[in-house]
């Protein structure tokens, strides 16, 4: 069933896309937004228009739901894209590559701790909780497990730092340093994770819980973003590199030495 698209429909579609660009706008707080979301789900013609408007802007509609609202992602080279170079701008040139990698790892780890099991990522009603402490701790633990597994393995070559394993880079970085003004050092792993969590909160993916700060809960947007796009992209990259282990239903985040930590079968 096709139906003529009215100019005002295009306007509504664009308005829905615009809602998606405000990270903290939610359908539950805005009747107009909620109405547009309802229409998207009921009216295929309208949904198509919304997707086309988004596509024209260089965006992809990942999901539209009453809880998450419209979740958008930028296509590559779009004006809306956030590049790692911009995100990790304030780094020393000499460590740039390592720093970028550490910032990326921090985001990956934040998602991993927010959704520890595949089920959690799949379950729309799941709300994860993350804190700097938890994320850095889990990554360190994973690094330590890798260190144990590679015990006896040779140390990295001193003239080829880019061949150093990622876990070594994370472990070597201090988790915190005492600074004069009492804030966490930026180059530390806690500083890097903290920056990632604050950024995600600014993007409407996390919401700070509790008074003292540092603990966040996930929003449905974040779940959709990770599930529908980010995890897939990273998955594809790893698939190309041939570095993917076989998944288990229970998830792989385990306590150390509790017969987990089996080698990822390549």
């Amino acid at each position: 069933m096709t139906r003529e698209i009215q100019p005002q429909d295009v306007e509504s579609a664009a308005r829905l896309v615009a809602h998606g660009m405000r990270p903290k706008a939610l359908p539950s707080r805005d009747a107009g937004y909620a109405e547009l979301v309802r229409r998207y789900r009921d009216d295929d013609g309208f949904a198509d228009t919304v997707q086309r408007v988004a596509a024209g802007l260089g965006l992809v509609v990942l999901a539209v739901g009453p809880q998450s609202g419209i979740v958008l992602a930028a296509v590559e080279e779009s004006v809306f894209e956030i590049r790692m170079d911009e995100y990790a701008r304030r780094t020393v040139l000499q460590n740039r590559q390592t720093d970028k990698m550490l910032h990326g790892l921090a985001h990956l780890a934040a998602a991993a701790l927010a959704f520890p099991r595949p089920d959690d990522l799949g379950d729309d009603s799941y709300v994860g909780r993350v804190s700097v402490d938890q994320v850095d701790g889990a990554v360190r633990e994973a690094c330590r497990a890798l260190e144990e597994r590679t015990a006896g393995e040779a140390d990295p070559l001193s003239d080829a730092p880019q061949l150093e394993a990622a876990w070594r880079a994370w472990l070597r970085r201090p988790e915190a340093t005492a600074t004069k003004d009492g804030r966490a050092g930026e180059a530390t792993t806690r500083g890097i994770v903290g920056k990632a969590l604050r950024f995600l909160a600014d993007q409407g993916f996390l919401v700070a819980v509790g008074a003292e700060g540092g603990v966040y809960r996930t929003t449905p947007r974040y779940q959709v973003q990770v599930r529908e796009l980010a995890a897939q992209r990273a998955f594809d990259e790893l698939l190309q590199l041939g570095a993917l282990p076989v998944a288990t239903a229970g998830g792989a985040l385990r306590a150390p030495n509790a017969q987990g930590l089996e080698a990822p079968d390549v």
């Binding site: 140390d155 876990w167 409407g204």
Partner: protein
């Protein structure tokens, strides 16, 4: 010194055990390493005699490297400009510092840096008692900062060493290690912990099995007590305490991870087994240490010699501390069980899986961590790009633009900040004005004649009542004038006053009636010319 310790451990059973296991243990990881195409030089096919020798050397090189920062402290201390550091034994202070940090480490956090400095101060002060307390504190601070290696980005140490690859090539590798590590406690404070390497440097227990080493230490302790050698017993007790700390630290790490996520932990066997083992261990240690404590307490009470009595009393403290640490550990273990059950309940009712999804930790994060830095940049950047959401390019809205345009510019005075009226302090008035100085200069330039001070004073008194004082002062200043100084300053002449024993008779001044003359200064030869 400590450098003797590490060697002893290279031949311990645990060590050789792990070596035996290594070839079989290696192959899967070596295969995993070979997965990414970049790593090719370090692929190992089989272990050879050369390699076995090589590993022994490598291990010793690493053990040696751990002591290097301590030696380095003494080597670099002479470069400190704020203290005469040759008087301090920096390596000794460093060992004390690691000691203090290790002792202060407990479950929740490490040692507060200020506390460690405070505890170090007596040791530093004992080396140079006369130096000010501030200096002692600064030396302690300096040593701690150097053990953390504050200047470096990673706050650790690196050492390069050479190994041979399987095909006989010599390659250089990097060994990273830390001695004191800064960690963040739950309350946000930064504390110090001693790294494993540091504890190994300190105790000399390189990679030993914590449990068996502890048992050994306690057997030794009991023997020593039986023979009445309490000084040695104290040493052994302290070693036992270090091992207790080490053991507790290992357990803490495991419990931490357990509390974070228990979802995929084997509840039926592995975890209860782990807890049981730990509890059994604590029980046996508790019993052993209580027995020892009773024995030493007896030794303390029966001892008549004050020195031995004091030793025994100190030993009681040490063992008491060990017991306290075990109790702490036990409390943690019990708590962990409750955490497990609570988590289990929460998980059990979370519902059935709704759809297939990616295991972010196991399928993305862990493989990424295993990649090398250059390769890992790809997937992590891809995740970031797709997971960071949308950036909205900032476009000034009309209202925003109007506001921006209408905002009055920040007032900025072209002349800069107003000049602050300075507080003027009263200037001390010169006693002799420029006139008097000029007149005195005229008097003291006797045109090649040597004159008596009394003559000069009489002449001066006629010119001005103040002048004699100035003349007298200048003449007295001229006694023993240095030619070198005058030449350095480039003065053409030099005023000289010589005492020939004549007594000055003057209503105002007393002393010798000096002979006053001027001498020209020859720049090159340095010979003075007395007219």
């Amino acid at each position: 010194m400590v450098s003797g310790f590490p060697w002893r451990r290279t031949s311990c059973p645990e060590r050789s055990c792990s070596e035996v296991r290594r070839p079989g243990h290696r192959s899967p990881t070596a295969a995993a390493e070979a997965g990414p195409p970049v790593e090719c030089r370090s692929v190992v096919s089989d272990g050879g005699a050369l390699r076995a020798v090589d590993e022994g050397v490598t291990r010793r090189l690493k053990a040696l490297a751990c002591t290097a920062p301590l030696h380095d402290l003494d080597a670099r201390k002479t470069r400190l400009d704020w203290v005469d550091a040759t008087r301090y034994q920096m390596a000794e202070i460093a060992l004390q510092a690691i000691d203090q940090v290790t002792l202060a480490m407990d479950f929740d956090h490490g040692a507060d840096q200020a506390q460690v400095v405070k505890r170090l101060r007596p040791f530093v002060a004992a080396q140079v008692p006369r130096a000010p307390a501030g200096e002692h504190e600064r030396v302690a601070q300096w040593v701690i900062e150097n053990l953390i290696n504050v200047g470096s980005l990673d706050r650790g140490f690196q050492v390069d060493y050479g190994t041979f690859t399987e095909d006989g090539h010599y390659v250089r590798r990097r060994f990273d290690f830390k001695l004191l590590v800064e960690v963040a406690a739950p309350d946000g404070e930064v504390y110090l912990r001693a790294s494993d390497e540091a504890i190994n440097v300190l105790v000399g227990a390189l990679d030993t099995d914590v449990e068996s080493a502890q048992v050994a230490a306690e057997v030794k302790l009991e023997n020593l007590i039986a023979r009445g050698r309490l000084g040695d017993a104290r040493l052994a007790a302290e070693q036992a305490r270090y091992r207790t700390v080490q053991y507790a630290e290992a357990l803490r790490q495991k419990l931490d991870a357990t509390r974070r996520d228990v979802r995929s932990v084997d509840w039926l066997a592995a975890v209860p087994e782990l807890l049981d083992e730990a509890l059994t261990h604590i029980e046996s240690r508790y019993r052993a240490e209580t027995a020892i404590l009773a024995n030493i307490a007896d030794a303390r009470d029966e001892a008549t010699e004050p020195g031995r009595r004091r030793q025994a009393a100190e030993l009681v403290d040490v063992v008491g501390d060990c017991i306290q640490r075990h109790t702490q550990l036990q409390a943690r273990l019990q708590e962990a069980g409750a955490t497990f059950r609570a988590e289990q309940d929460r998980q059990q009712f979370s519902g059935r899986p709704k759809r297939a999804a990616i295991d972010v930790f196991g399928q993305l994060l862990r493989p990424c961590l295993a990649l090398d830095t250059a390769t890992a940049t790809g997937p992590t950047a891809a995740f970031f790009g797709a997971g960071a959401g949308v950036r909205v390019p900032s476009v000034p809205s009309l209202t925003g633009l109007v506001e921006t345009l209408l905002t009055p510019p920040v007032e900025r005075d072209p002349l800069g900040e107003p000049v602050v009226e300075p507080d003027l302090a009263p200037v001390t008035v010169e006693r002799f004005g420029a006139d008097l100085w000029k007149q005195s200069a005229g008097l003291l330039d006797p045109e090649g004649r040597a004159r008596r001070l009394s003559e000069l004073l009489a002449e001066a008194r006629e010119i001005d009542p103040e002048l004699p004082t100035l003349v007298a002062l200048r003449v007295v200043h001229a006694v023993g004038s240095s030619v070198g100084t005058a030449r350095n300053q480039g003065d053409p002449t030099l005023l000289l006053a010589i005492d020939d024993g004549t007594v000055l008779r003057d209503p105002e001044f007393g002393g010798s009636d000096l002979l006053v003359t001027t001498a020209g200064v020859l720049a090159e030869l340095g010979v003075e010319e007395v007219a």
